[in-house]
């Protein structure tokens, strides 16, 4: 049994940079690398790709990441745990095997499945967000349970170099190797809570090393173009140190750690995962050295009796159009244009939203900062039942060129099919995770 393991996080979302993971594996002295690539809606989009091609439905960047990473993982004896399997972990495992063949590398991959529960959920059950039946939201295209360490640990017990999952709770990707290596009791909720705190601090990768943090003059971060991603030295007693590879950009300090500890937390006394209900209020953070923060405290209570399920449904088509106005009276000309578009779109689309970018588009107000902007970008967005109606939004904005106020330019128009997400719960007994091992 080890006393300490080092877990790195090389990606915090599907579109994250590629090379920080390579730096971690090459120079980080890792035992495990985690790539967290699955946002709420990503799996519903992946499910649509799988329906079109049974060999797809995994993360679109999987091939690019694995081609670069695989030789380094094998050379440095680092195990990879990732949810890049998205809607199709088995196809992802096969894709990794085929990359290994092309690189002439021998590898074993374990795919974790069982999160897909579309045929098991009760569509008349209430959505957690609205308390109305799920069936009422429209055509349901995916339902995935957030699996936990119970699903991942059996994969770690194989000799797999790479463990690839679909939907699992983000902190479970990190907690699983801790429980596996330290032999933690899965009913010791206090220690699982501590491990979950560390997992939560790591799961957004660069967000604890100075990414999404910098504010020039207030919160300066060095060398962000080469931002290093984090690792944690986790000890068998559940305490940990967060650090990064020497020479990489970024910074790890109490400020970055506090921002990340509270990120997306809706109740710091009860942070729900499939493994534990963790308590973040008892966490202590300390600057331990340059770019090293120590984590002690934290705890937890009995895990929930149910799994949370993320349900994807076909919501609507989003139509958007944008046009810029600049110079004298720019805002008034943009407002005139906004009024014209509203009148033109009436009755053809739902919920028209008019934004004046540069003034009130993201905060819905300017808090009495009433300085006149030199330039304003008008944005019109609306929901429509079909792509054709959604396209009217951009078409009407474009028609402002010859029919609208003076001096409009730089039109862009977009139509996007929108997948909505709601949540429900499912009894653990209805969900049976399994592991498939494939050798190259």
């Amino acid at each position: 049994m080890k006393n300490k393991i080092r877990i790195g996080c090389g990606a915090g979302f599907s579109g994250d940079r590629l090379e920080p993971a390579l730096v971690l594996v090459e120079k980080g002295g890792l035992d495990y690398l985690v790539l967290e690539c699955l946002a709420e809606r990503t799996i519903a989009l992946a499910q649509k790709r799988k329906l079109q091609d049974a060999n797809k439905g995994y993360d679109p960047l999987l091939e690019r990441r694995i081609k670069l990473l695989l030789p380094l993982l094998i050379k440095n004896n680092v195990r990879l745990i990732t949810n890049m399997g998205a809607a199709n972990p088995l196809a992802a495992a096969k894709a990794i095997i085929s990359i290994a063949h092309s690189l002439n590398i021998s590898v074993t991959v374990a795919a974790v499945t069982g999160d897909e529960v579309l045929d098991k959920i009760d569509i008349n059950a209430a959505a957690l967000e609205t308390n109305t039946p799920i069936a009422g939201f429209g055509n349901i295209i995916s339902a995935n349970a957030y699996l936990g360490i119970d699903a991942i640990i059996p994969a770690l017990q194989t000799n797999a170099n790479i463990i690839i999952t679909g939907r699992v709770a983000d902190p479970s990707l990190f907690l699983a190797p801790m429980v596996f290596e330290f032999g933690w009791n899965k009913n010791d909720f206090d220690i699982l809570g501590k491990g979950t705190v560390t997992g939560h601090l790591l799961e957004c990768a660069g967000q604890i090393t100075g990414g999404y943090f910098a504010d020039p003059g207030k919160k300066d971060v060095p060398n962000m173009a080469s931002l290093g991603h984090p690792f944690a030295d986790v000890h068998a007693d559940g305490t940990a140190h967060i650090g990064k590879v020497d020479g990489t950009g970024g910074t790890i300090n109490l400020q970055t750690a506090k921002e990340q500890l509270l990120y997306e937390v809706v109740n710091p006394y009860e942070y729900y995962t499939p493994d534990v209900v963790a308590d973040f209020t008892t966490v202590h953070l300390k600057q331990y050295g340059e770019n090293i923060v120590s984590i002690t405290g934290g705890g937890g209570q009995q895990k929930p009796a149910t799994y949370k399920v993320s349900v994807g449904y076909q919501s609507h088509h989003l139509g958007e159009g944008e046009i810029s106005y600049a110079g004298s009276n720019a805002l008034a000309r943009a407002q005139l244009a906004g009024g014209i578009i509203c009148e033109r779109l009436q009755g053809q689309v739902d919920d028209v939203k008019i934004d004046y970018m540069g003034c009130t588009s993201v905060h819905q107000t300017s808090f009495n900062n009433d300085a006149k902007p030199y330039e304003v970008r008008l944005r019109v967005a609306a929901k429509a039942t079909t792509p054709e109606f959604a396209a009217l939004v951009g078409e009407e904005v474009e028609a402002l060129y010859t029919n609208g106020p003076a001096g409009g330019g730089g039109v862009r128009k977009y139509v996007t099919e929108v997948i909505g997400i709601v949540s429900t719960l499912i009894d653990r007994k209805l969900v049976s995770p399994s592991v498939t091992v494939i050798h190259s």
């Binding site: 207030k218 400020q255 921002e259 990120y263 997306e264 993201v362 808090f367």
Partner: protein, 99 residues
């Protein structure tokens, strides 16, 4: 003085719920923030953005406050018409608040 002058913040999202941390640069300013930045005052400040209840959590161990704001993301991240559907920019809306 604005909150921006003495504190920093990060926004997070869960469905239609917005989370906003509020962290003083100097830990000794924590009690000042506890007294001055009540849930009610934040609700008034963010009235254009947050339509539901705001719950404030105090985290003295890390000298930080957390505001959990319901009905704050235009109906929910995945279906909102807002440009910033996740509300990621809203940390700086909180920091605009006058002390």
């Amino acid at each position: 003085m604005k909150l921006y002058d003495i504190a920093h913040s990060r926004a997070g999202d869960k469905g239609d719920t917005l989370t906003l941390s509020l962290i003083p640069y100097k830990e000794e300013d924590y009690s000042l923030l506890c007294n001055a930045v009540t849930a009610d005052k934040v609700k008034t400040h963010l009235s254009q953005i947050v339509k539901g209840e705001i719950i404030r959590y105090e985290l003295p161990n890390i000298s930080s406050l957390l505001f959990v704001c319901k009905q704050a993301l235009g109906g929910g991240v995945t279906t909102s018409l807002r440009l910033d559907a996740h509300g990621k920019t809203l940390s700086y809306a909180l920091l605009e608040m006058e002390m």
